[in-house]
Structure formats: C-alpha cells, structure tokens
C-alpha cells in the first residue's frame, strides 16, 4: 500500500521536476522573452521564412488580454480535472458501496468478486476506514 503511494508520489514528483528544472536552472535566460509560448510572435517567424506570406484568416474570437487567455486555459484545465475527479470519485464510492453491501449481506464470503485484490493493495486510508466501519457494523449486528 505504501509502496503504491510512493510510486504515485514519485511519478508526480518527476513530472514536477521536469517542469521546474528548466526554470530553476535558468535555461531560458539566453532569450529575450524566456519561456514564452508567444502565439503572437508566430507571425514574425513565417514572415521571415517567407517574406511575402500573409495569414489569410484570423481567429473569430481572440482573448482580449493575456489574463483572459490564461483564465480560459485555466477553465479548460478545470473542466478536464473536474470530469476526471468525478470519474474517480464515483468509482471509489461505488466500490465502497459494493463492499459495504457485500459485508452486510453475510460476514464476507463470496462478496467482492474481483475488485478486491487490486483495491485492497491500492486502497487509501479512507478506503481502509470504510471497510473497518462496515466490518464494525456487521459485528454489532451479529452480537
């Protein structure tokens, strides 16, 4: 269980390191505008490769400022993260519900056909609490 969490933490840590290291090491210092994603500068570039090229279409809507643009990017990330969180939350809740139902039915025999092995090994603290709680419930009921 802790091994699992440790691997997850390591994965996220590695991603964070990959993002932070270029900043921390100042890899963008040689540039006029370090770490720009600068879509606006796009035009310059093509004009330099092909001086007579002119963009023939412009965006229907353009965020009026960098702030609005980053707000919309944040919205996009938030929408995605929200759906992902909903998915995993729902799964976890369902699994707990199933487990509780299973352990209420009898003590705990054939309940939980296959989610058990993976779920057990990967269960977070809350999950462990859930099982303990339902076990307690059956206990009192039995007594």
């Amino acid at each position: 269980m802790s091994g699992n969490t440790r691997i997850d933490a390591l994965l996220l840590l590695a991603v964070a390191a990959l993002a932070v290291l270029p900043l921390a090491l100042g890899l963008g210092d040689h540039k006029e505008e370090p770490f720009a994603g600068a879509d606006a500068e796009t035009e310059t570039a093509i004009t330099e490769i092909e001086p007579d090229y002119e963009p023939w279409f412009s965006p229907l809507y353009e965020p009026p400022s960098g702030e609005v643009e980053s707000a919309l990017f944040a919205l996009q990330a938030a929408l995605g993260a929200g759906v992902l969180a909903y998915y995993f939350g729902l799964r976890r809740g369902r699994r707990q519900g199933e487990r509780r139902a299973g352990s209420l039915r009898e003590t705990q025999p054939a309940a939980l056909p296959e989610p058990l092995p993976g779920a057990r090994s990967g269960a977070g603290p809350e999950e462990a609490g859930g099982t303990a709680e339902s076990a307690g419930e059956t206990g009192t009921r039995g007594a």
């Binding site: 691997i7 994965l11 500068e41 310059t44 963009p55 809507y61 996009q76 990330a77 992902l84």
Partner: protein, 261 residues
C-alpha cells in the same frame, strides 16, 4: 503590404528561434497554412473523424457503462493540452494527452475527442485555428494516437509490462504529434535551398528537443492515471483488453511502474 508584425526586423536570428515562434505551443496558428494545404489536411482528417464518430456512437450504444471512462479520457486530453510546461530549450509547449484514450479505446475515438479539444482551443483561446483545424487534428488527433497505440500494442505483444508499454505509447503519441506538425510546416514552408527534406530535418531536430521532456512528462502522467484506473476500474479495463487477467496484472503493474519510475 506590411506584414502583420511590426517587429519583423529584430527577431529570430536562428532557425531555432524562428521555429519556436511559428509553432510555440504545438498547434499551427490560424491562417498560417496556405489555403491549399489547409483544405488538403482537412480532407485527409475528415474520414478519420467520421469513422471515429461512428465508432464512438456504437461504443456508447453497446456499452453505455463506458461513457464515463470515455469522458475521462477526453478530460485527460483537455487537462494536458491546457498545461503549457517549460522545457529545456527555454520555451513552453504542452503535452497532448491523446495516448491514454488511444490505448483504452483505440485511436478512432481519439480522432473525435482530440478534435473537440482542438476546436475548443481554436474557438475560445485563439490557439490553433479553424483553417488549420484539419492539419492540427491530423497531427494530434490522428497520427499521434495511432503512433502511440501501435507502439503500445507492439510492446504488449512482445511481452513488455503494462506500465512500460503505456509509458512508451503516451511518449510516442506526444512526440509523433510534433513530428507530424513539423512535416506539415516543412511542406508548407520548404527551405529555399534544401527543400522539404532540409526544412523537415531542421524543424524536426529542433522540435524534438523541446518536446522530449514534455513527452516524458506525458508518459509519466499517463502511467499515473493508468495506475489509478487499474485500481478503480479493473472490470472496465479487462473488457477493453488492457488488463488480460486479474491476477497477473498486479505483478505487471508493479514491475512495469518500477521500471518506469
């Protein structure tokens, strides 16, 4: 006829800088592919997207239970393509997040989900564009997912651990998206001296540099989400053929992610 930019004179001394400006955040900007190219790429993408829509509706009809996981795959693409991350070259780019859905639901689904993401960014963020939607969809929603899926299948078939295959698949999906983008740019703006191949060589080598660390990040994040899925959605993953059997998956997971981490 003054071109759009006022600062044409001072910028971009090296190809490297030029390139980062053309396509600093992966997608080709609005209006920056000549009309003939835009139409051609649109025509090339259309059948894939239509096919994807068909597969998607069939999947949802036959397995209503998988709608949620489909939504989650789309959401993953949404999150990752909103994450502009700094890279070693000193500029920012973003991952694509298409590898996960391609591995779970096969690439045709991602043709749809990826295009939806691109459309959102083109309409609301002025990032990418409607005229370049076909080209961008071809690189991010079609070529990337297929490349990632192909590598994933190849590795799985040769007995690689699940998480190692997932990492490589996501990595390949990300990187090949960029490779296709540079090919598209090289076709549209060939080098005056060395032509398409010269331009492709320059574009490709420089792009790869920025994108490799991001592709690694994408691989790691995809493994992270896949690990969560293995814990939470075992049944679904088995139905989709990602997990072969309940018992061995645990071991595979452990060894695979160990190798990755």
């Amino acid at each position: 006829m003054v071109p759009v930019s006022q600062e044409t004179g001072q910028g971009a001394s090296t190809i490297h800088e030029v390139l980062e400006r053309i396509c600093p955040v992966m997608h080709i900007a609005e209006g920056f592919l000549p009309p003939a190219h835009a139409v051609t790429w649109g025509a090339a993408s259309a059948p894939f997207i239509v096919h994807g829509v068909r597969r998607l509706t069939r999947e949802v009809r036959e397995h209503p239970g998988s709608t949620l996981l489909l939504g989650a795959s789309g959401a993953f693409t949404f999150v990752l393509s909103a994450l502009k991350l700094p890279s070693v070259t000193g500029s920012c780019s973003h991952p694509t997040g298409t590898g996960l859905g391609a591995i779970l639901f096969r690439p045709p689904m991602m043709a749809v989900l990826g295009t939806i993401t691109l459309l959102f960014q083109a309409l609301l963020l002025a990032h990418g564009g409607l005229t370049t939607l076909g080209a961008n969809a071809f690189s991010m929603a079609i070529a990337g997912p297929w490349a990632g899926y192909a590598l994933y299948r190849l590795l799985r078939r040769s007995g690689a651990p699940l998480m190692a295959a997932v990492f490589s698949g996501a990595f390949a999906a990300d990187l090949s998206t960029y490779c296709v983008t540079s090919a598209q740019l090289a076709l549209a703006f060939p080098d005056p001296v060395s032509g398409f191949w010269g331009a492709l060589g320059k574009f490709g080598s420089i792009f790869a540099f920025t994108q490799i660390p991001l592709a690694v990040s994408e691989g790691l994040l995809t493994v992270f989400v896949m690990r969560l899925l293995v814990q939470s959605s075992r049944g679904e993953l088995t139905r989709l053929g990602v997990l072969v059997s309940g018992g061995r998956a645990g071991q595979r997971k452990a060894s695979g992610s160990g190798a990755v981490a």
